[in-house]
């Protein structure tokens, strides 16, 4: 069915999906961005019928949310449903059903695994003496091969499967990929900790007291979790301000 939509329209929807979060808001979340991305496809489906395009846009500006990299799954599937002439209530129910899974799957796979794992890898490279430019290039290339690949895969799956995207998503075993990435992340994080400790200009060079303080901070983060972040950053800023004030007073 997707073959009957012009390639140009499909390419345009896919490219617009990179802007889908541009009008993210607390009222309809991705709603407006979803309608914006879908627009070239709706024009291809409804042709010159301005009323039908406006009516369809009106349905798609409603509340919707998904991980941005997996939003293409919903865009592709909705395009197919609209092309098939599926009744609007079914399309609405489909969007309601996929928005939770597309958000949580993407958050776990990308934000909590792919991104931090590659960030840690790039940081380890820097601490081990690789040129900063090399670490940046490696990060950007590897990260975005996965990023753009995931967007493209999701859009194609949506177009091919329509309402049945759930089965394809389950077969893709994104959870298994997440688990593997997190294992690799633990290895890279260890390498980062080791290199920060032992590299020239690292913590060991500054003295045992700094190693002990860093260990205490590491354990605080491990035990308390994300709630420890703001107090830790505030403590660093306050310490810098205090040391500067003391230095200025002398």
């Amino acid at each position: 069915m997707s073959r009957s939509l012009p390639r140009g329209a499909l390419a345009s929807v896919f490219l617009r999906s990179f802007l889908i979060q541009g009008s993210w808001n607390y009222h309809t979340m991705l709603g407006c961005g979803f309608a914006f991305a879908l627009l070239p496809g709706l024009r291809a489906i409804y042709g010159a019928s301005a009323n039908e395009i406006a009516a369809s846009l009106g349905r798609h500006v409603e509340l919707f949310n998904a991980h941005p990299y997996l939003s293409g799954v919903a865009l592709g599937a909705v395009l197919r449903l609209e092309r098939d002439g599926t009744d609007p209530e079914t399309v609405r129910r489909f969007k309601l059903a996929v928005r939770g899974p597309l958000g949580s799957l993407g958050d776990a796979l990308v934000w909590a695994s792919w991104l931090p794992v590659l960030s840690v890898l790039a940081l380890s490279m820097v601490w081990l003496g690789a040129p900063g430019g090399l670490a940046v290039v490696v990060f950007l290339v590897v990260y975005n091969v996965g990023h753009v690949g995931l967007r493209l895969w999701g859009f194609r799956v949506g177009l091919a499967e329509g309402r049945d995207v759930g089965r394809r998503l389950a077969r893709a075993r994104l959870g298994t990929w997440t688990h593997r990435l997190r294992s690799a992340g633990a290895l890279f994080l260890g390498a980062l900790v080791g290199s920060v400790l032992a590299a020239d200009g690292g913590l060991a060079d500054a003295g045992a007291i700094w190693v002990a303080l860093a260990l205490a901070a590491f354990l605080a983060g491990l035990l308390v979790g994300h709630r420890a972040w703001r107090p830790a950053a505030a403590t660093v800023v306050a310490t810098i301000a205090l040391l500067t004030a003391v230095g200025m007073a002398q």
Binding site: C32, S119, W127, G221, V224, W229
Partner: protein, 219 residues
Amino acid sequence: MEIVLVTLLGGLLALDGTSVGQFMLSRPLMAGTLLGWMLGEPVLGVTVGAILELYLLVSFPTGGSRFPEGATATVVAVASAAGSTTPGALPLAIAVGLVWGQLGGVTITALRHANSRLVPEPSRPPRGPADVTLAHGIALLLDFARGAALTFSGVVLGRAVVSGFGVGWHLAPPASVALLLVGGSVSAGILLRDLGGLRRRRTLLVAGMALGILGARLL
């Protein structure tokens, strides 16, 4: 001219953070390296970027949550420290960057509230494609303007702080970096927790540490 380029870069990287693409050019290590190269201070750019990347390892643009804005933090910090020879340039610039990153998060939340009034209301559907395109385009422009304004104000303040108070810094450079790394170590601990915790990941963590120490000694 330099402040104009830095401001424009801040606006563009802010867009990459959430609104456009999310290619992660806005991550601190990438933004710091890019700006350091632009300002002719590549080592400073990588140093600031690497330190702030460590802090923001566990900061992601998830859903509607408020998160520190890494791009603004980094651009402000690098531009504040660039060209300064005072001993406190690095720690003070990082401190200003951390504060501005938090402020960036606050302004993103405010922009998202403003977008709620800008986008077509589902109960009053758009009259046509132009309504949707215009609302989306204005929201993108506002995000760019937000990032640029935040960067400009942060750089002006940061440079004033570094030049005014940098001479009062008395910690030696290795201790200054160590102080900043101690704060970043909290993020490393949080990340290990997110990756499954110490009990579940200890073997891989210890193996990685051994590789890291070996690599640091040999390379």
